[in-house]
């Protein structure tokens, strides 16, 4: 029952408080206290943020606590977080950049020494984990003898997503605790093991509810809990040949998802395990060396940049949106996705469409999204209950926000807006999900221009995190603030932009997609084009991406950009028009340039002209510079964040602008000029490069 407030009784009772034994937290990263029967409770509550991060102070504080413990050994030690949100989110990565290679190695050695001391204590050590124990947080838990998971707890090593692998002993402690192949999978994929899985893998010894923590601790201390030792499989991997074989499989699997050239960390981890999997001490030393090296790679630096870009967009999206009821107009692919996603995230949603068929399809689509998002049956039921198909538009009068996701023609949209006049609440906002029309042209048709803005989602909404928020010349500032907070409340990343043809993402993406079609017209096979983009680091090639976006949408956006921009664009390929006319509009039709009947195409072809990649990528960078020059986006970071979270632009390159900077602005301009000479004015560098 997530529909509504839980009422005053539950509100008064509140949530079950964390069991902290005798500890009263006192502001330091660690607070401790001993019970009458000699059990020492050690509570981590570090800093002001909702989650603990493991910083130098945390490690040093633990060291000081261990000094006392080693002198006066308690009967048992309980370690847990005093923050309701969870155990610990991992290392404090904001400190990483300042560290040189040597500084990193020093800090790592210091951390390892402290965790080794914790692991070596000759009294039982019990870690209680509620919420997430990630990265260094997980490593502290692994240095304890026992782990009690509070229902909802999760464990994981997300380091690979930052171009790293575990660095505080995880690489040898986890494979020693559980099936080594499972341990490697967790570390290589960065996936978290949720409570049930954690118990099943042997990470958690006990799973219980917060209210039974004291009893569970007593059961461990009193020796009432048994557990199995490492299994046969773990022992088999003591042999090098077994590890060779397994490592080979891991490498080929990893290469497919994270090629070594772009993502060295997982490959380094496989090397470590293959070489030292039977020798924890050697593994520990090698882990420290390898971690320090990875820290210094461009990939890791760029991936950490991506982490901070995400953080910045998230921080911008905090606050109260005042939106509990969303009405979406138009149950096409996008409207349905937006409605389903908002309902999953707790909004009351009505989805309007004059036709019943698309409304029916939207419910099926919503069910599938629930499934993909791993919602359980109650969560799915509640989400679908919150999503009401609304053929008669009852929701318009109740909505705090109306999102129009109708056909992409100004007169249809204007008609829709005319129908809203006098029906919406006075405080309600109206947003258009248009991808190709300028807000400035639609503004006057809106019931209240000050409360009208653009809210441009990307397909599929459930996977693409970015939302472009576009203001026009009379949008009220508070409307933009509320829309930004709305994106935050449905777990999407908003970027605030000015009204511009194609806004930011489509403006930058379209020349890339159109150039791919020009290349196809020149006779370059689509597989070759897409493979080149994938080799650059894109998740999907431009041809497959066009199919995914929808060829009709691509055509529409391309035409609109051609009409509205002074800059020369690639000619729109006749084949694109033919495809759209034939109804082969891409993924949603099952057929576009590719056939989608067997899922997402996975082209793997080499060859093509030498300048293929630059012809695809550089116009995208140039368009980003143009947007920056015209004040469409606030700064370089917003552009990079938007392109990464909307299009998956090679994250390990840190974003298009960051890539341009690392390759050299002058070098890019020169290269564009060369391409201009060869292929025409569409490659002429934007004047904005000069100001960078």
């Amino acid at each position: 029952m997530t529909h509504s407030t839980h009422g005053p009784v539950l509100h008064h009772l509140g949530k079950t408080k964390l069991e902290l034994g005798p500890v009263v937290t006192d502001g330091g990263p660690w607070s401790s206290g001993k019970t009458e029967d000699g059990i020492l409770w050690l509570v981590l509550d570090h800093g002001e943020s909702a989650l603990n991060t493991v910083s130098r102070e945390v490690i040093e504080g633990l060291s000081t606590e261990l000094d006392h413990i080693e002198k006066d050994m308690p009967r048992a030690i309980v370690i847990r977080s005093g923050k309701p949100a969870g155990f610990a989110a991992g290392a404090d990565i904001s400190g990483f950049d300042a560290m040189g290679d040597e500084g990193a190695v020093d800090l790592l050695r210091q951390g390892h020494a402290v965790l080794d001391r914790l692991a070596a204590l000759n009294c039982p050590t019990i870690c209680i984990v509620h919420g997430a124990a990630l990265g260094a947080g997980f490593e502290i838990a692994l240095a304890c003898d026992w782990r009690i998971a509070v229902e909802g707890a999760s464990f994981g090593f997300p380091e690979v997503q930052l171009g790293l692998h575990p660095g505080l002993g995880g690489t040898f402690r986890l494979p020693a605790l559980i099936d080594p192949t499972e341990a490697m999978t967790l570390m290589l994929t960065g996936k978290t093991a949720h409570t049930k899985k954690a118990k099943q893998l042997g990470i958690a010894d006990i799973v219980t509810e917060e209210r039974h923590i004291a009893a569970a601790v007593a059961a461990v201390v009193d020796g009432k809990i048994d557990r199995d030792g490492p299994g046969l499989k773990a022992r088999a991997f003591g042999f090098e040949t077994a590890r060779n074989l397994a490592a080979r499989q891991m490498r080929s699997k990893t290469e497919k998802k994270a090629p070594k050239a772009h993502y060295p960390a997982p490959h380094a981890l496989i090397d470590l395990w293959e070489m030292h999997g039977d020798d924890p001490e050697a593994m520990q030393n090698a882990e420290i060396e390898s971690f320090a090296q990875l820290l210094d790679t461009d990939t890791s630096k760029n991936l950490r940049r991506v982490f901070f870009l995400r953080q910045a967009l998230k921080d911008d999206a905090r606050g109260d949106d005042g939106i509990s009821h969303l009405h979406v107009i138009g149950a096409g692919a996008m409207g349905a996705e937006i409605a389903a996603w908002a309902a999953i995230k707790g909004k009351t949603v009505t989805l309007g469409d004059l036709d019943l068929d698309p409304l029916g399809k939207a419910i099926k689509q919503a069910r599938d999204i629930c499934k993909d998002a791993h919602l359980n049956s109650q969560e799915t039921r509640d989400a679908l209950d919150r999503l009401m198909p609304d053929p008669k538009g009852y929701g318009i009068a109740r909505a705090d926000l109306v999102i129009e996701a109708g056909p992409e023609t100004a007169d249809v949209k204007e008609k829709i807006y005319a129908g809203l006049k006098g029906r919406m609440k006075e405080s309600a906002l109206l947003a258009s999900n248009t991808s190709s029309l300028k807000l400035t042209t639609l503004r006057d048709a809106a019931p209240n221009a000050a409360q009208f803005a653009g809210l441009h989602f990307f397909n599929p909404v459930s996977k693409m995190q970015l939302v472009e928020i576009i203001h026009h010349d009379s949008t009220d500032d508070d409307v933009i603030r509320r829309l930004t907070a709305f994106c935050g409340s449905i777990d999407r990343l908003p970027v605030r932009l000015a009204d511009y043809p194609g806004f930011l993402v489509n403006r930058a993406l379209t020349p890339y997609l159109m150039e791919a079609m020009v290349l196809m017209d020149e006779g370059v096979p689509k597989e070759v084009i897409d493979s080149a983009a994938i080799a650059f680091g894109m998740p999907l090639g431009p041809v497959a991406l066009s199919d995914q976006v929808g060829l009709d949408v691509c055509l529409h956006v391309a035409e609109s950009l051609k009409d509205n921009l002074d800059k020369p664009m690639p000619e729109i390929s006749a084949r694109l028009r033919e495809k759209v006319e034939a109804g082969e509009t891409g993924k949603k039709a099952g057929q576009g340039f590719y056939s989608w009947s067997h899922g997402t195409p996975k082209p793997d072809a080499s060859g093509g002209p030498d300048d293929l990649t630059d012809r695809l990528i550089l116009p995208m960078l140039d368009a980003c510079v143009e947007c920056l020059r015209n004040g469409v986006a606030h700064d370089v970071d917003d552009i990079d964040g938007a392109m990464i979270f909307a299009t998956g632009f090679a994250p390990f390159r840190g974003g298009p602008m960051h890539y341009a900077r690392s390759r050299g602005y002058a070098a890019i301009q020169d290269r564009l000029k060369e391409l201009e000479t060869e292929y025409g004015p569409r490659f002429r560098p934007d004047p904005g490069w000069k100001g960078l």
């Binding site: 029952m1 529909h3 509504s4 407030t5 839980h6 009422g7 005053p8 009784v9 539950l10 009351t348 009505t350 019943l356 068929d357 409304l359 029916g360 399809k361 939207a362 419910i363 099926k364 689509q365 069910r367 039921r381 509640d382 679908l384 209950d385 919150r386 009401m388 198909p389 609304d390 053929p391 008669k392 009852y394 929701g395 009068a397 109740r398």
Partner: protein
């Protein structure tokens, strides 16, 4: 103190004919499907409601007290009191009646009252002998005892009893509901052709109502998780004719019976809600009621002739208000069986019956077919038992309003030997 009570609005799902296997919706799913649009089209916050009452006969194990489950799933909040009523085929009217009385007394101001039933989900019931065997297996300790218990397994344990069939059999007289209709047909001389003619009209009337859009604000489309949209009552046969209706064999009393699958109500899934409000609530929220609920009555008689329940209950109302047949413009008399509806009409027109049973001086009079179930009924629509009583009250209100008529009675026979009736007047 008796305060006026209004029926403000209402909506139902299409009634979906039970096919093989459970349908796409549980009773609460159905209640949510039509409850959402009904609440969404009101101009008040749903939390202004102060009670939810839902009639449901076949409650599913996963939805105990379906009224409360529905209230929570409709987002009415943790503090919404909700209870379920069960008086068999009268359950959906009982919910309105309870709401009516609470509001009339002054303890409540606005109540959501409904009915929900998914007969296609009626469970298969294990035989008592099989349940006992399961119990012994569970208690058996050690391999020897288990082997002994296992040896007691009999093939017939796996032959389930259809719960629905049991539900439609009167436990006191052991008569199936169809047999009670046969009994009335015999007493009131209703022949097969009359029953079939009545059934055909039911289909034609519903088909016309659908065609004309008379049900558009009453029936809300239902959407299942596979993307299928159910827009209208799907048991209707617009081309129903006497030749077709003459084909099926008697369903309950072969070979001479008159009640067939064609002239009996259909087994269906469906839900219906109405919003019942006090005058204060109407004023406070600026509501436009469809009708005022004037009175209600319940009566009882021998289970074997339960089909005459409407005659007893409705006459109790007309007597109390000194009304005669001409004062009632429209009737919704639930079509459990064509023979049963026709028997009720015949009974009212039978002076002996009216004197002896109803205490009238003469026959109550003739209710014309154009006043009776004017847009079809359970024979064409289906009869989700817990829902039908709610539907007929809602539809009566809508039909009175559409035709500019003043007064009507919605009434139903109730398995087990009961009748319920509710009188409405347009405002």
């Amino acid at each position: 103190m008796t305060r006026p009570v209004y029926l403000v609005d209402g909506a139902r799902t299409p009634f979906l004919k039970a096919k093989s296997g459970p349908g796409p919706f549980t009773p609460v799913d159905l209640a949510v499907q039509c409850g959402r649009p009904l609440l969404a089209r009101q101009n008040f916050d749903s939390r202004a409601l102060d009670l939810v009452i839902l009639g449901c006969v076949n409650v599913l194990q996963d939805e105990m007290n379906p009224a409360r489950v529905a209230a929570l799933r409709l987002g009415l909040g943790a503090e919404m009191v909700a209870f379920t009523t069960q008086i068999n085929c009268g359950s959906g009217m009982q919910s309105i009646d309870t709401a009516y009385r609470y509001i009339r007394e002054g303890s409540h101001d606005m109540i959501l009252a409904g009915g929900a039933e998914a007969l296609s989900h009626a469970p298969l019931v294990l035989r008592k002998s099989a349940v006992e065997w399961f119990g012994q297996m569970a208690q058996a300790k050690g391999p020897a005892a288990q082997a002994k218990a296992m040896a007691g397994l009999r093939p017939k344990f796996f032959k389930p009893i259809i719960g629905l069939e049991r539900g439609l059999t009167d436990p006191i007289t052991a008569l199936n509901m169809g047999q009670t209709a046969e009994l009335l047909a015999h007493h009131f001389n209703i022949d097969r052709e009359a029953a079939d003619t009545y059934a055909m009209q039911s289909h034609h009337r519903l088909a016309r109502a659908q065609q004309e859009g008379w049900l558009d604000d009453e029936v809300m489309p239902a959407f299942d998780r596979d993307g299928v949209v159910y827009t209208r009552d799907n048991g209707v046969r617009p081309d129903s004719d006497l030749a077709g209706l003459a084909k099926p064999k008697p369903a309950f009393e072969k070979p001479y019976g008159k009640v067939t699958a064609g002239n009996a109500s259909q087994i269906s899934d469906g839900a219906s809600w109405v919003i019942v409000a006090s005058e204060d609530a109407v004023e406070k929220h600026g509501l436009t009621p469809i009708a005022r609920i004037m009175d209600s009555a319940w009566s009882a008689l021998d289970p074997s002739v339960m089909g005459l329940g409407p005659v007893l209950a409705s006459t109790a109302l007309t007597k109390r208000h000194n009304l005669d047949v001409a004062d009632i413009d429209l009737w919704e008399l639930n079509e459990a069986f064509a023979a049963q509806v026709l028997s009720c009409i015949a009974a009212w027109d039978d002076a002996d019956f009216c004197r002896a049973v109803l205490g009238l001086e003469t026959a109550f009079g003739r209710i014309e077919r154009d006043q009776l179930n004017i847009d079809g009924g359970a024979i064409s629509l289906g009869h989700p038992v817990g829902t039908s009583g709610n539907r007929i009250v809602l539809h009566l209100a809508n039909a009175l309003k559409r035709l500019g008529k003043k007064r009507g009675i919605a009434t139903e026979c109730i398995g087990g030997g009961l009748g319920g009736a509710m009188m409405l007047e347009t405002v």
